[in-house]
């Protein structure tokens, strides 16, 4: 398709994968944006593609949608080559693009009519579900940022796609609208649709995704379930508290709990660090000593903690993935 790749590599793609990419490379002039990228998206999952700005996420997605021609690599989306079979592929893919719009004077109802194919879903039902039923006659230019995003989502879901690609899905949405959209994505996934979510919002990825693919500098840095990534890159929980008086031996006993890495006392305040599971043991030990602090604070690492280190670290993609797969 677009350059040479080791023979047989495409044969190793799993039948259950909706998207398979091998050796994708894309450069704009001298700037390589995606470099020898391999990735798989299994059917029926919500997969998050995350990374810092310029990591190559949007370019990767645009190659999958057939909007950009790769310089090298092999791509299959739902069994189609997105470059040579874009026309056959696109009816099966619902897309919500970053940085795109509709004509300013196009009304909501007209947009649904324009983008709906004969086998598509009932637009009215989707508009109702996403809170746009009262805006049928509103022009696109008059919609708020959140309403525009919801309309894009309606259009992406309109034609019963097998794969939905959502790039910066909840950008501009208020917290309540985000939750509504998340619920809709979960419902869509439960109905059997595979979702590829490109996002900067790590809480969104953590909440929605079965799998997360982390990109940096055009390469896949790590991949796995959100909890696996947290375990690998931010396993340490932190417990802070202070007591007026510490029972004799209490801090020593906390330090001996399996998984606790450090117990540091500064004045009245104590900080305990260790694996996530020690939170329960530390709290139980304090209850057993009848010393329950009023200011107990527990920080359990999130995907954001894991990825902050991962994305800003010095680790090379190949080293990291080798470690992840081992």
């Amino acid at each position: 398709m677009c350059g040479e790749h080791p023979p047989g590599s495409i044969d190793r793609m799993r039948n259950t994968d909706v998207v398979t990419v091998r050796g994708l490379r894309k450069a704009y002039g001298d700037r390589v944006v995606v470099d020898d990228l391999d990735l798989d998206i299994p059917a029926g999952q919500i997969v998050g593609l995350i990374g810092a700005n310029g990591a190559g996420k949007t370019t990767t997605v645009e190659c999958l949608q057939g909007l950009r021609k790769p310089d090298a690599g092999t791509l299959r989306v739902l069994g189609f080559d997105p470059v040579t079979q874009a026309a056959a592929l696109r009816p099966h893919v619902g897309s919500q693009l970053q940085d795109s719009a509709l004509p300013d004077r196009l009304r909501v109802a007209e947009a649904v009519r324009l983008f709906r194919t004969p086998h598509g879903r009932d637009g009215a039902e989707l508009l109702e579900q996403f809170g746009l039923a009262a805006r049928l006659r509103s022009a696109f230019a008059s919609l708020s940022g959140g309403e525009r995003q919801r309309l894009f989502l309606v259009l992406a879901l309109l034609n019963r796609p097998r794969l939905v690609i959502l790039d910066e899905l909840t950008q501009g949405l208020d917290p309540a609208a985000r939750r509504d959209v998340w619920a809709a994505i979960r419902q869509l996934n439960e109905d059997g649709t595979t979702v590829l979510l490109v996002t900067h919002e790590l809480d969104e990825a953590e909440s929605l995704c079965n799998q997360v693919l982390v990109m940096r500098a055009g390469r896949l840095l790590d991949a796995g379930a959100p909890s696996e990534l947290v375990d690998r890159h931010a396993a340490e929980a932190t417990i802070r508290f202070s007591l007026p008086d510490y029972p004799p031996g209490m801090l020593d006993s906390l330090g001996r709990i399996d998984g606790v890495r450090s117990v540091n006392r500064t004045g009245k305040q104590v900080v305990v660090r260790g694996e996530r599971r020690v939170v329960a043991y530390v709290c139980a030990a304090m209850v057993a000593c009848e010393s329950v602090p009023a200011d107990l604070q527990v920080h359990v690492p999130t995907l954001e903690d894991a990825l902050l280190g991962l994305l800003s670290g010095q680790v090379t993609p190949s080293t990291q993935l080798a470690g992840a797969r081992a």
Partner: protein, 245 residues
């Protein structure tokens, strides 16, 4: 034509109707300027106008002003705005057929041309009267070629200019000299030789000659018609490729 293409054409026709730039430049501007210029030179045959009624000279010229406004202002701004804002990418990923947008722009351009020309003639008829058509087929052929040629030019400009603002700036810069030198300005006989040399090869001048001369019985304008036909083939071929989704 498949259903999606038909829907896109319908939507584009609806949107063009709502565009104030189209209303101003394509429908109002040619009529207002035709009434002013046509009235300024009166209705007595004049040597500067090849001994024809000056108002009829301008009625026969101003249909091409409509075509020029569509090709040099309306379509470039419309397309550049779509490209700049990612509307075309959205059409592409939604699975609209590759040629659907090019076809939609052709239909929109032709329908707008017909509507604006009909309105211009409807206004001109009671004010100045409509000049008799000496060679109707040649006039229709020239108008059809000119409409397609300028639609192609519009699509081409809209596909290479980076933004709607730049398309508007470049479009107006091309439109007004073309309008003044080749269609709605002073007749060629009163222009100096240098200005006339600039005016002669302009696409709008070729089109206006190819329409006006057979309409008013001043000649067949075969050279202009052939040049216009060649330009139409070239521009349409390039524009069609540029407008593919």
């Amino acid at each position: 034509m498949n259903g999606q293409t038909a829907q896109l054409i319908r939507a584009e026709l609806t949107l063009i109707r709502r565009d104030p730039l189209v209303l101003t430049f394509v429908f109002v501007f040619p009529i207002v300027t035709m009434l002013i210029i046509g009235g300024a030179f009166g209705t007595q045959p004049d040597s500067a106008f090849d001994f024809t009624d000056p108002s009829h000279w301008y009625v026969a010229s101003y249909l091409t002003v409509v075509i020029g406004a569509i090709g040099l202002v309306m379509l470039p701004v419309h397309l550049a705005s779509y490209r700049e804002r990612g509307v075309l990418r959205r059409f592409a990923v939604a699975g609209f057929p590759r040629w659907s947008f090019a076809l939609a722009e052709l239909v929109v351009g032709l329908v707008t041309t017909l509507a604006a020309c009909a309105l211009l003639l409807a206004v001109a008829a009671p004010v100045y009267g409509l000049p008799a058509l000496h060679d109707a087929w040649r006039v229709v052929l020239a108008l059809a070629l000119g409409a397609v040629c300028f639609i192609g030019l519009g699509v081409l400009l809209g596909s290479v200019l980076p933004s709607a603002r730049s398309a508007q700036a470049v479009g107006l810069l091309l439109f007004f000299p073309s309008f003044l030198l080749g269609a709605g300005g002073p007749p060629p006989h009163v222009m100096g030789s240098a200005v006339r040399a600039i005016a002669v090869p302009l696409p709008l001048t070729l089109l206006t000659n190819a329409v006006r001369e057979p309409w008013l019985g001043l000649g067949s304008a075969t050279t202009s018609l052939v040049a216009l036909a060649a330009l139409t083939v070239l521009v349409t071929a390039v524009a069609a490729r540029r407008a593919v989704l």
